[in-house]
């Protein structure tokens, strides 16, 4: 039994990878610059020093190659955790992920397993250049055979990574890069919630805000601000985009009768669109207002000087809350 420790999301993922490397000799960490450098965000800091170049592998600069060889390693019995350095760089590997990784278990009639975790730092808010701030999670959630998750807290970062590595299916693990340095308590001896279970992180009665990854914090701030105006908002951290825990969300919406979904990704055909459709179907007679979405526009991710205008923030969330409550 160890006492809970305060650590950042970045450190929590590092600790999670370390524990997984320690407990399962088949776990490998691979990617560009993950070794000596410890990754451009230092998420893998110190792992190669302690586990060696055979298990913490600096790869050639070729994303399709990283995922394609991770598939081969998984077929051989390994559990590779592959890092894609930034969200916008995953697309050279998209073919391997979609046409090979996602389908192989089914094509083999269940005879082979593909326990591959793909870590992707994602989202904006860090003032980066093009291709370093995107949120492509819906493009992966749309593909059968993949699981897609994103933690919002250090504790979830630690436990969800452990669970993703132990999962026998491919998991796309989206890391909220602008929250990497947020701190929180991590209890490494706790019993974690199931990987794909949503969590009510703030209770309320007037409206439900649903979010995941970097937007959970934004929604919690919005709920605090709304409280000052006498409005009680419930916040649900979805944690998983494939599958989505609609039961937890449904229970919340049946109570609050209003739902606003918040994500950084463009709203058009995004995660929020699917949630709106399903919650409308499940909660039609409970809803007092249409399900509203707050997210990115149908535009390329803007240059850094405009990203604060593009990204959902407290005011944009509250604007949608007002609209939903006005029905």
């Amino acid at each position: 039994m160890t006492a809970p420790k305060s650590m950042t999301i970045a450190k929590a993922i590092n600790e999670s990878l370390r524990t997984s490397l320690e407990t399962d000799p088949k776990v490998l960490v691979m990617g560009e610059d993950v070794g000596k450098l410890g990754g451009v965000f230092r998420i893998t800091d110190g792992l190669q020093k302690d586990f060696g170049e055979d298990r913490v592998i600096d790869t050639p600069l070729a994303e399709s190659g990283i995922i394609g060889t991770a598939i081969g390693l998984a077929l051989r019995g390994y559990r590779p955790v592959a890092e894609i350095q930034f969200d916008g760089f995953v697309f050279p590997a998209y073919d391997q992920i979609v046409t090979q990784l996602a389908k192989m278990h089914a094509r083999a009639l269940g005879k082979v397993k593909l326990p591959v975790v793909i870590r992707i730092p994602y989202g904006g808010g860090i003032g980066a250049v093009e291709h370093h701030s995107e949120s492509p999670e819906a493009l992966f959630a749309h593909v059968a055979g993949l699981k897609v998750v994103s933690p919002a807290t250090p504790s979830d970062a630690y436990w969800m990574m452990r669970q993703a590595i132990e999962c026998d299916d491919p998991v796309i693990f989206f890391e909220p890069k602008r929250r990497y340095w947020d701190k929180g308590e991590v209890d490494t001896s706790a019993v974690p919630a199931p990987l794909h279970r949503a969590r009510v992180v703030r209770e309320g009665t007037d409206l439900t805000l649903a979010a995941y990854g970097p937007m959970v914090k934004t929604c919690l701030e919005a709920a605090s601000a709304a409280e000052e105006e006498g409005r009680s908002l419930e916040v649900v951290d979805l944690r998983s985009m494939s599958p989505i825990d609609f039961d937890t969300l449904q229970a919340s919406v049946e109570k609050t009768r209003r739902l606003v979904v918040v994500h950084e990704a463009p709203v058009f055909l995004g995660t929020g669109a699917e949630i709106a459709a399903r919650i409308t179907e499940r909660c039609f007679f409970h809803l007092e207002a249409p399900v509203l979405r707050v997210g990115g526009f149908h535009a390329p991710y803007p240059p850094a000087r405009l990203e604060e205008d593009y990204l959902p923030n407290l005011d944009r969330v509250l604007d949608s809350v007002d609209r939903a409550l006005a029905f």
């Binding site: 055979d54 790869t59 050639p60 070729a62 399709s64 190659g65 995922i67 394609g68 060889t69 991770a70 598939i71 081969g72 390693l73 998984a74 077929l75 051989r76 019995g77 390994y78 050279p92 073919d95 391997q96 046409t99 090979q100 389908k103 192989m104 278990h105 089914a106 094509r107 083999a108 009639l109 269940g110 005879k111 082979v112 397993k113 593909l114 059968a144 055979g145 699981k147 999962c167 026998d168 299916d169 794909h196 494939s242 599958p243 989505i244 825990d245 609609f246």
Partner: protein, 382 residues
């Protein structure tokens, strides 16, 4: 910079060991199209009469099975077939070079290699009939599923080989691909990964001269086997219609890999005698003269001539192989026709190993929908 000087410069890489880049392409051959045994300075082979007859039997069986599959497609029993006609020696020679513990990553045309690995030919037909998308346990024969996306499997093979090396195993891996795939980024990335990690993988390219309608010249300005030089590992071109040379060269390449010397590229120079698939019409893009020229280099005919001339097999043997291949074709024909359509609920099988709430929900909904028709006329028609 001319092509020649580029190649000459890159010949400082691994290709110096086996037939260098920049030189006129050399073809390793041990059995001429006329059925004459010839020797090669680097590659040799010494087989017993029984082994030689075995290679002949494998090739005849493979061709007979392949021809039967074409017929079954024409009869509507298969949706598609990708014929290997003309490539029997490349596949049987290389497949017979592998050990049981080696691992094979095929394209969708490796029916002969599958035969050498002990995969039941009927298993290969499931995806072409449309009853599954793969359909066998890859680990049963160390023969991975057919891969349709061109070149993807080269990376899987490389990753598998990296894993085998980590395990301290002396197993090797062989990745099959074609001349068209040599243009794919995944094949280039596989060469890079295999080279920098010194992975025990043999890249076996069957250059059958055509990628659907595009000739090899549309894929490469240099002979494909010279491509490996730029990545720092050796490449060799072998007469892909000479089963003895293919066997000898692939054995050496696998030995090279398993002894810790890293990857090697083998280009089996052969010819796709049929169309790309049963959906293709090769008369639209190539001349009969070319096909006739390659027909004279037929892989089975030359081994038969050799066996007969050397007194290693008699008429009774050839007749027996024919009869056995007919029996195989009959078994395949009957087996395919008896292959049932899968239950519609199979749509939801094996999508995830650890389950998925959405799949569970949709499965239940679809089952309830299907149940409405049970006992009704519509149900009977379904």
């Amino acid at each position: 910079m001319s092509v020649k000087s580029t190649a000459a410069r890159s010949s400082r890489g691994g290709a110096k060991r086996r037939g260098g880049a920049g030189r006129k392409p050399e073809l390793v051959q041990l059995l001429t199209p006329e059925g004459e045994r010839v020797e090669h300075s680097e590659y040799s082979i010494d087989l017993t009469p029984e082994e030689l007859r075995g290679l002949y039997r494998d090739m005849v069986f493979t061709r007979r099975f392949d021809g039967e599959a074409v017929t079954l497609q024409r009869q509507g029993e298969l949706g598609l077939w990708a014929s290997l006609l003309g490539q029997e020696a490349a596949q049987i020679g290389s497949g017979r070079a592998t050990r049981p513990d080696d691992y094979v990553f095929p394209t969708y045309r490796e029916h002969g290699v599958a035969w050498t690995r002990g995969v039941d030919p009927l298993n290969l037909l499931g995806m072409f009939r449309g009853v599954n998308n793969g359909g066998w346990d890859p680990n049963q024969n160390n023969f991975h599923l057919y891969t349709i996306v061109i070149g993807s499997q080269a990376l899987h093979a490389t990753g598998y080989a990296m894993g085998a090396a980590k395990d301290g195993s002396d197993s090797a891996v062989i990745a099959y691909f074609g001349d068209g795939a040599s243009s794919q980024g995944d094949v280039a990335e596989a060469f890079t990964f295999a080279a920098v990690y010194n992975a025990p993988v043999v890249f076996f390219c069957q250059n059958n001269q055509w990628a659907i309608s595009e000739p090899t010249e549309r894929q490469s300005r240099v002979p494909i086997y010279q491509r490996s030089a730029g990545f720092g590992f050796p490449g060799v071109r072998v007469d892909g219609n000479d089963v003895l040379a293919v066997l000898a060269v692939t054995r050496a390449a696998l030995e090279h890999a398993r002894s810790g010397e890293g990857p090697m590229l083998v280009e089996a120079f052969t010819y796709r005698m049929g169309a790309h698939t049963t959906s293709d019409d090769a008369t639209r893009y190539r001349l009969d003269e070319e096909t006739a020229e390659w027909a004279a280099k037929d892989p089975i005919a030359r081994l038969k001539t050799y066996l007969a001339n050397e007194g290693l097999a008699d008429e009774a043997f050839f007749a027996e192989v024919e009869a056995e291949s007919d029996a195989l074709a009959k078994r395949v024909r009957e087996g395919v026709r008896a292959m049932p359509n899968p239950d519609p609920m199979a749509i939801f099988d094996n999508i995830y190993a650890d389950g998925h709430a959405l799949v569970d929900e949709e499965r239940a909904q679809f089952a309830a929908y299907q149940a409405q028709f049970e006992g009704s006329e519509e149900g009977a028609a379904r």
